[in-house]
């Protein structure tokens, strides 16, 4: 997968939140094969310094970071957070989230497009967390985004691909744009399904972090994503409504 001129061998982008321990997070990243992990910025206590220890752990993993603007509810908040993230993490990449609803964590697509345009103008390479809405996708591309990341289902819900038709339409509508399903994936089979649709990658966190054995689940996702990609490239057969015998009927006895 190529995004913003960077070729990634792994199509799994992994989140770093919610793991039982830093050691389990590190092992999950290793077994996932992910080359990109998502990170965030939060208020730092002058005494605890939790952020410094976390950053040291991530740097030791030797992976590329994709900072997010999680929790931002306006374009202005997201823009300021992105600017702060660029300085701390030393990357122009930003996973842009502008949240519009507390319950569903649904993107505020109006604020998203506004922030994407401002950040692109400022030299950022924006990975927008969006919906499967095609018009919003067009607006994000117009704003300078070179990758789109539609949700599969609400963040952390583990419900998989809620709108299969919409995601399929998005793939067909943007054949040359890298598309990454971001959020809502709960099982490797769901990630595999997205890859079979022709999606370029999967970004997930909770499904791995909240598994009984996160490192094992990370590897399971890596395998499923590879399988789905191979299946897509192998061009699946079209489904049929009626049965079609696979064993030849020519030469059948007793006829």
């Amino acid at each position: 997968m190529e995004v913003y001129g960077v070729t990634l061998a792994s199509r799994l982008l992994l989140g770093t939140a919610l793991y039982p321990s830093p050691a389990i997070l590190a092992e999950a990243v290793r077994r996932s094969g992910a080359e990109v992990v998502t990170v965030s910025l939060r208020r730092e206590s002058g005494t605890e310094r939790a952020g410094q220890a976390f950053w040291s752990l991530i740097r030791d993993l030797g992976v590329r970071v994709l900072p997010n603007t999680a929790g931002c509810h306006s374009a202005r908040e997201a823009i300021t957070t992105a600017q702060m993230a660029r300085e701390v993490f030393g990357t122009n990449w930003i996973k842009l989230e502008v949240i519009g609803n507390h319950d569903t964590l649904q993107p505020d697509v109006f604020g998203l497009v506004e922030a994407a345009r401002a950040l692109t103008t400022d030299g950022f390479e924006v990975f927008p967390y969006t919906t499967e809405d095609l018009v919003v996708g067009e607006r994000l591309l117009d704003a300078g985004c070179r990758v789109l990341m539609p949700w599969g289902a609400p963040i952390g819900s583990g419900r998989g691909l809620n709108n299969l038709y919409g995601l399929r339409a998005m793939r067909a509508h943007f054949p040359d744009v890298p598309l990454v399903v971001d959020a809502g994936i709960g099982l490797p089979s769901q990630a595999c399904q997205a890859m079979e649709l022709g999606y370029d990658g999967i970004l997930l966190n909770t499904a791995v972090a909240k598994a009984g054995d996160p490192a094992r689940m990370a590897e399971a996702f890596a395998n499923a994503i590879r399988a789905g990609r191979e299946a897509f490239l192998a061009e699946p057969m079209p489904p049929r409504d009626m049965a079609e015998p696979s064993t030849p009927v020519l030469g059948m006895a007793f006829r």
Binding site: T38, S40, E44, A50, Q52, W55, T80, V88
Partner: protein, 65 residues
Amino acid sequence: MKILVNNEAREVAGPSLADALDELGYADAVIATAVNGDFAPARSRPTLMLREGDRLELLAPMRGG
């Protein structure tokens, strides 16, 4: 002067943002700063003068999805 640091009231002498960070124990921390909702780049900290009531945000790397 009284300012808000990560939404907590603090008393600092300042006068610059860099001075305040030193006082607050963040001199060697990997953090990004914002004052009154606007990003304050690291290079601006020595010359950015704080004022009474300023809202300072100090953000550090954290886990994220």
